[in-house]
Assembly symmetry: C3
Homo-oligomer: 266 residues x 3
């Protein structure tokens, strides 16, 4: 499958015009940056996590983004309630399994969350995606290429099984559903020196899924915009501090020309 | 009522000299920016929320700012205890009803909080202020001008009833007590693309109320400084990322000349 | 004792090469900046606080940083479990007693935490260090010089007693163990107008302790890098907003030449 720069820009313009409400239950580290990135692309972020109100909020939102970065039991209860309410209302749900595999608690929680409903998009790096499955789709991985191949096999299996989109982000982003794949090769190495840009990418998946009804395209467009904005920001930056600032400025002003010049479908 | 640029600058200088301790119980999204804005104007911010210590801290502070942005039950308990301790000691209390009206939990909690004591200043946007009242002061609003008029009526009624100051922020900020009104027309549209600048404005109300004993003037001066600094920052910025950075730099250096040149009393 | 600029740079290069995992249980205000500063120097930060997983995470880390800035009971439970697991595995533990002395809850909690194990490095300002002891090492302090002398006496007593390193940060940073002392005189006054740079210094102590096995040197090198980067950032800045951005850029690019030119051993 393919996406064009003009399609990407059109969806970005839709976000700017419609300003969709994106409900985020995310981690403490990135809340500010996530909210700012959503505002910069034109969306309306809301950050609400308490179990007393997540269902009410998710039901009103145009997308729900659940990120387990700094999880704890009260937040997990809020995540389950939001997920359930979003599904009932047909609100697209993006799950970011931050740090899955790092501790048993984290791995167990995100697996239970994913199995409790049908996410629209799951976005993580290769090791996080690898940790999502209890050996069902697992092959043996020995080096990092094998690990990445293995993550792709798991992603495709999980996407087919859950009828959702899985995005493995990395030097090349692989976005798959049960049948198709889009590969985006944008981004810059310095982006890994700014905390939470993966979380920002997931939040942008939410904004794009709110206005683009094909989840595969929504995820691919979000990853393309994130990668292109990151490249443009890195070119203007002397380090990760200025990269973070320029990234927001560029998301705010991103033009069709910039997308056309930079887009790298792999 | 009126305020002059030299009065505003004098209060800013008082903050810079006295460095008042401002206790914030605020949301996760904006804590860093709020603390930085308070430091930039010369105040001493402290962020403490646990019910085990909010009363002790609030009693020592020169102002208490309660912001319900990412509320949950443990934090709400901390807010009530802080509010009570601050009132007992005569410490000015600023309440920011973030997202009031968005969910029943949020609306119910902030109404209960406000009715539990006498805030010094309540600052929110029109829809948040509208959500604070259980129809007592409500008229019918059909379009946004009417909604804004309605918010003003509610603000005036609540200010008279609670003997406090209510500030409705927006393109024009309306600051009212039971009898008087100040209107500030500073600010820049790009400020709405940076998360939490309303929360920053409330925090500045805390810093100003710590040194300016007339709450109406304290709120108006804080809103003027926030709006002027935002305009100056936007003029230097290519987007919301750089706006946020410049805003802190400008708050740190804001001169009487800049205030005089920019101040727009509506 | 002494440290040289080339030794400092060598340890910085070790961090850049080995990218040690630094587990932070820190406060909401600074999480983003702390993570970014650790990434900028080349470390791999992880922020995890839930008692269900802090022991698992701390056991895998190359350093653990515990910062009590916005403490509450659930977090305190996570801190104790992490501390215990880190000690068992020989992972260096840095404690930042933010705001010790400000409320009884805070003072009590951090004293209990420190007495529950053996920290590798404790870093705080003079008043925080003064609050750590229950009069055991206390002398009478009347003015700020005396207070600072008193903090030094307490720091040395505590360092000897706990066989750990204590760093009192300020205009001059005093880094002591039971026998030796290193004094670093780097830094810039504008740094105190950016929130959480003390917390960042503690996090850097974690990154340095992960690769430099002498805790006294690790703490001194971290404080030197922090102070030098702060000076270089302040020179390029118009206020605390740009200082924060430049600081991350400079930590990312800091060269041996810059360290040599700026290092001030007092």
């Amino acid at each position: 499958m393919n996406i064009t720069s003009s399609e990407i820009f059109q969806t970005l313009e839709d976000i700017r015009t419609k300003s969709p409400l994106v409900h985020n239950i995310t981690n403490y580290v990135v809340m500010n940056n996530t909210a700012n990135a959503l505002l910069a692309v034109g969306a309306s972020p809301v950050m609400i996590h308490a179990e007393e109100e997540t269902a009410d909020m998710a039901a009103l939102a145009s997308a729900l983004v659940i990120n387990i970065g700094t999880l704890s039991e009260p937040w997990v209860r809020g995540m389950f309630k939001a997920f359930c309410a979003a599904e009932e209302k047909g609100v697209p749900v993006i799950i970011d399994p931050v740090g899955a595999g790092a501790t048993p608690y984290r791995t167990r929680t995100v697996r239970k969350l994913i199995s409790s409903g049908r996410p629209t998009i799951i976005r993580g790096n290769a090791s996080e995606i690898l940790a999502l499955t209890d050996d069902t789709f697992k092959t043996k991985g020995v080096d990092s290429t094998a690990a990445s191949n293995e993550a792709l096999i798991i992603a495709q299996g999980m996407a087919a099984d859950k009828k959702c989109v899985v995005c493995i982000s990395g030097e090349v982003d692989y976005i798959v559903d049960g049948e198709q794949m889009i590969k985006i090769a944008n981004g810059h190495p310095m982006m890994s020196r700014v905390t939470g840009l993966g979380c920002t990418a997931s939040a942008l998946c939410g904004a794009f899924a709110a206005v683009e009804k094909e989840p595969l395209k929504a995820a691919a467009k979000a990853m393309a915009v994130m990668g292109i904005a990151g490249e443009l920001a890195a070119e203007r930056s002397q380090g990760p501090g200025s990269l973070q600032m320029h990234l927001l400025d560029i998301l705010y002003r991103l033009s069709e020309t910039s997308i056309r010049e930079k887009l790298k479908i792999a």
